[in-house]
Amino acid sequence: CEYGHHASCTSLYKKPFVESFEETPLLVAVLTYMGYGILTIFGYLRDFLRDWKFEKCHLAREREEQKDFVPLYQDFENFYTRNLYMRIRDNWNRPICSVPGAKMDLLERVTPDYNWTFEHTGNVLKDVINMGSYNYLGFAENTGTCADAASECTVKYGVGVSSTRQEIGNLDKHEELEILVARFLGVESSMAFGMGFATNSMNIPALTGKGCLILSDELNHASLVLGARLSGSTIRVFKHNNMQSLEKLLRDAIVHGQPRTHRPWKKILILVEGIYSMEGSIVRLPEVIALKKKYKAYLYLDEAHSIGALGPRGRGVVDYFGLDPSDVDIMMGTFTKSFGAAGGYIGGKKELIDYLRLHSHSTVYATSMSPPIIQQIITSMKCIMGEDGSTLGELCQLSENTTYFRRRLHEMGFIIYGNNDSPVVPLMLYMPAKIGAFGREMLKRNIGTVVVGFPATPIIESRARFCVSAAHTREMLDKALNAISEVGDLLQLKYSRKNRHGNEGSDSFSFLESHQD
């Protein structure tokens, strides 16, 4: 820790910060590259056969009248899609026909031609355990107080709004929601938008512009990257969750100023997320806030996955670390994950929100949120805050489920990434063939999982990602764990070389790991 706040770091964390990112075993890495190499060779072979008409081509073709236009897609751009993604395409876009709760009903699909087209047989796979939907607190339900309140609201207000916030689309419900969100987060004022992705891509350009600097984490979500690009500011990337990298960038930026002209930066904005959904890691918020205060930068925290899911009172990552919400300049989050609705919000000081009311792209050009969705958010937020007479049962259930699930997976010998308290659990698969095999084998055992490969993750680090929910009972988790263990043995996924029976080796703990460099 070069810059001398070694002693102060230890006091910033009130409880142990434990995360593990075990290294890829060498043999596995080699075999993975080999696997991709073989797939690429076969890809070229199949392309050759298709070009020379030995094989029937299922791809959609350009119109005859437009054959002499410049081609819309370059052949090599779609190489990966045609030859690798198509083979295992049945693991994604699985249609469901029920509530996306702890158990769901999937529509059965068959493919007569190896995933080029799908047909629905009409059968329904009932009661598939849902380990893929972002339903952390279990509010995705069609009965109960939330659903009833949303129904009443639909009858009274209808579904659409057909106007923007600044024109005539500002309903009394929007104002009610914004006051409630501000109270929930503990900030002065807040503002809600219709889409979580658009909240980032429309508001970051309103806050920064040319002459400003954005420091963004390596693994930030596409919406943050798009928002940063659209703003026109200079963007510099720091290593994932690495505070030394961030500090070095901050110092260099302030000392040397803008590139070439050396004028001082107008402002510096740090973009981080609460929980990173592909890694399962939690941001080192106390250290980020300490750095931000020291170097006078501004902090934009995207709590898409962590709001409602972390913290003793469910107020997100700020609550989890026991910090003051006014230290974070801009708190952004979405209502899709823990509240079972749709949309996003930004919270902060009153000046900030007043400015956004005038200058955000969304308030001027985009339709406002639909009333029943707002009602769902209001009811579920009041539930979490305990104002409806219900207890904080869901939060305890979620954190118990998370701890149990992660512990059992560690014991079984899988490589799991991320922080011990994060409900997002990535399980490493590495090899391309195992991606498809894992998804299909789990579905055969009636468990719906999500698998991710390139380009959402680095090419050799494909993974299966589980989202633990408060709606999962102990039996469901046990059933899922048994199935995972069975499939893990079948596909030889238990790569972990740590001691498997509870006491993990000291190299995996990273209690304030930044100071062991």
Binding site: I96, S151, T154, G158, V159, T334, L352, V450
Partner: protein
């Protein structure tokens, strides 16, 4: 002599060409002359020094000492995060609507007739649509809790996509969960750095954001001016001839709106199609205002002009105007649309549309298909409103007779935009006091490329009666006379 002896030994070894046995190597080492060893020793030490010395960065301005750096860090003051906003900024306090935004809307406590929401077919109040949305809510809950790829695809989404494709008579359709994000995600999915896009000056803000995200070359042509567009296309052709190899890989697109939201007129689609085949450019058509409005069956500007829908590469529209739901869709041939399922950012990285909103849209489509007479009624009302507003003293009507959303601009501007806006706002307030709800057309003044002049938006819906239209026109006339004298 010794040196020569060593040399000949080496050459013997080279001639033999084979393995250097370790013992022989050590022997050679002992027998080498002293200066030879010293020279080699110095070389080795030099290599070690180079390997371990610090890398030399040419741009390193590290003439600054640690103390100076600390001082710079102390001194630097950033700007405030947001510039201060005055409390009486005219747009800061929104008009509050209590209750549903239906035909009789309650704005700021006053009940008015709604001439401001884009509720063209009156479906915001439809009981059938609300019922279907309720049924969907009871089956699926509210949210989808995931993007389309990860258990966020519901059977209602698939049904809506099929229905939209069938209605528009195209092969495939794709749904987005936010109207603004539809065209803003579609354009960057096809057009990348180095490609060329010709776009109309009056294009709406979401198209401008899509263009910015795509990083392509953007060339603007004057609004609805086909000669200007042809001039730009000819210039591009001349450029292409200079470098034919590059020209074969650069994609070209024309982006236009069917019915422009900023100027309320229709684009000349048959001329555009002719230019498309002459210069080999693809057309992207944005139909948010014309879907469900123009054409005999409401299929938009392609039906209005009788153009073959396969001639348009991509049609994009939002479902928030005529369909009175939330979200947007793109439709076209499978060859074009399927690409967005993996590269449309707003599709892949965002949660899907809540199923109750999709059901509402399906029911709205049902209503549109059952009763095609409704479009004729809307078109007649538009013509009626256009005629009734003519001759208002001090205000001019901007827009075609068929447009459902007209603009009323000041005939003589005061010279400053703020004053113009104040006058128009006074007219809007006067009308609201007399139970006619109007609104100012809103823009982000600093961000728009070609900022339209300030105006009042007047929207026509099928629910407005003859008498209400007359009353509204009368009210606006009185307001204009009183305020703009």
């Amino acid at each position: 002599m010794k040196h020569a002896h060593a040399q000949s030994r080496d050459s013997v070894k080279m001639a033999a060409g084979q393995q250097w046995v370790l013992v022989e190597m050590v022997q050679a080492f002992y027998e080498a002359p002293a200066y030879h060893l010293i020279l080699e020793g110095i070389l080795i030490l030099w290599i070690i020094r180079l390997l371990f010395s610090k890398t030399y960065k040419l741009q390193e301005r590290s003439d600054l000492t640690e103390k100076e750096k600390e001082e710079l860090i102390e001194e630097w003051q950033p700007e405030p995060l947001v510039p201060p906003v005055s409390k009486d900024h005219p747009s800061l306090n929104y008009d509050v609507v209590t209750g549903p935004p239906s035909h009789k809307i309650i704005v700021n406590g006053k009940e008015c007739i709604n001439f401001a929401s884009f509720n063209f077919l009156g479906l915001l109040d439809s009981e059938r649509v609300k019922l279907k949305a309720l049924l969907s809510l009871k089956k699926y809950g509210v949210g989808t809790c995931g993007p389309r790829g990860f258990y966020g695809t519901f059977d209602v989404h698939l049904e809506l996509e099929e229905r939209l494709a069938k209605f528009m008579r195209t092969e495939e359709a794709i749904i987005y969960s936010y109207g603004f994000a539809t065209i803003a995600s579609a354009i960057p999915a096809y057009s990348k750095r180095g490609d060329i896009i010709f776009v109309d000056e009056a294009a709406c803000f979401s198209i401008q954001k899509g263009l910015q995200a795509s990083r392509s070359f953007v060339k603007h042509f004057k609004h609805n001016d086909m000669e200007d567009l042809e001039r730009l296309l000819k210039e591009q052709e001349i450029e292409d001839q200079k470098n034919p190899r590059k020209a074969r890989v650069i994609r070209r697109f024309i982006v236009v709106e069917g019915l422009y939201i900023n100027t309320a007129d229709i684009c000349p689609l048959p001329d555009l199609v002719k230019l498309k085949y002459k210069y080999k450019v693809r057309i992207f058509l944005e139909e948010s205002m014309s879907f469900g409005v123009l054409g005999e069956h409401g299929r938009g500007v392609t039906e209005h002009f009788g153009v073959n829908i396969d001639d348009i590469d991509l049609i994009s529209a939002n479902m928030e105007n005529a369909l009175a739901s939330i979200g947007g869709f793109c439709c076209g041939r499978s060859f074009v649309i399927d690409h967005q399922r993996l590269s449309g950012q707003g599709y892949c990285f965002s949660a899907s549309l809540p199923p109750m909103l999709a059901s509402a849209a399906i029911e709205a489509l049902n209503i549109m298909e059952e009763d095609p007479g409704i479009f004729r009624v809307l078109q007649d009302k538009c013509k009626h409103v256009h005629k009734a507003l003519q001759g208002t003293p001090g205000l001019k009507v901007v827009g075609e007779p068929l447009a459902p959303a007209l603009h009323l601009q000041l005939e003589n501007s005061t010279g400053s935009r703020t004053n113009d806006l104040k006058l128009l706002r006074a007219i809007v307030d006067y009308s609201m006091d007399r139970q006619i709800a109007l609104t100012l057309a809103r823009y982000l003044e600093k961000e728009e490329r070609f900022l339209p002049p300030p105006s009042i938006r007047v929207v026509v819906t099928v629910e407005q009666t003859q008498e209400e239209i007359e009353r509204a026109a009368q009210c606006i006339r009185e307001a204009a006379v009183k305020i703009l004298k």
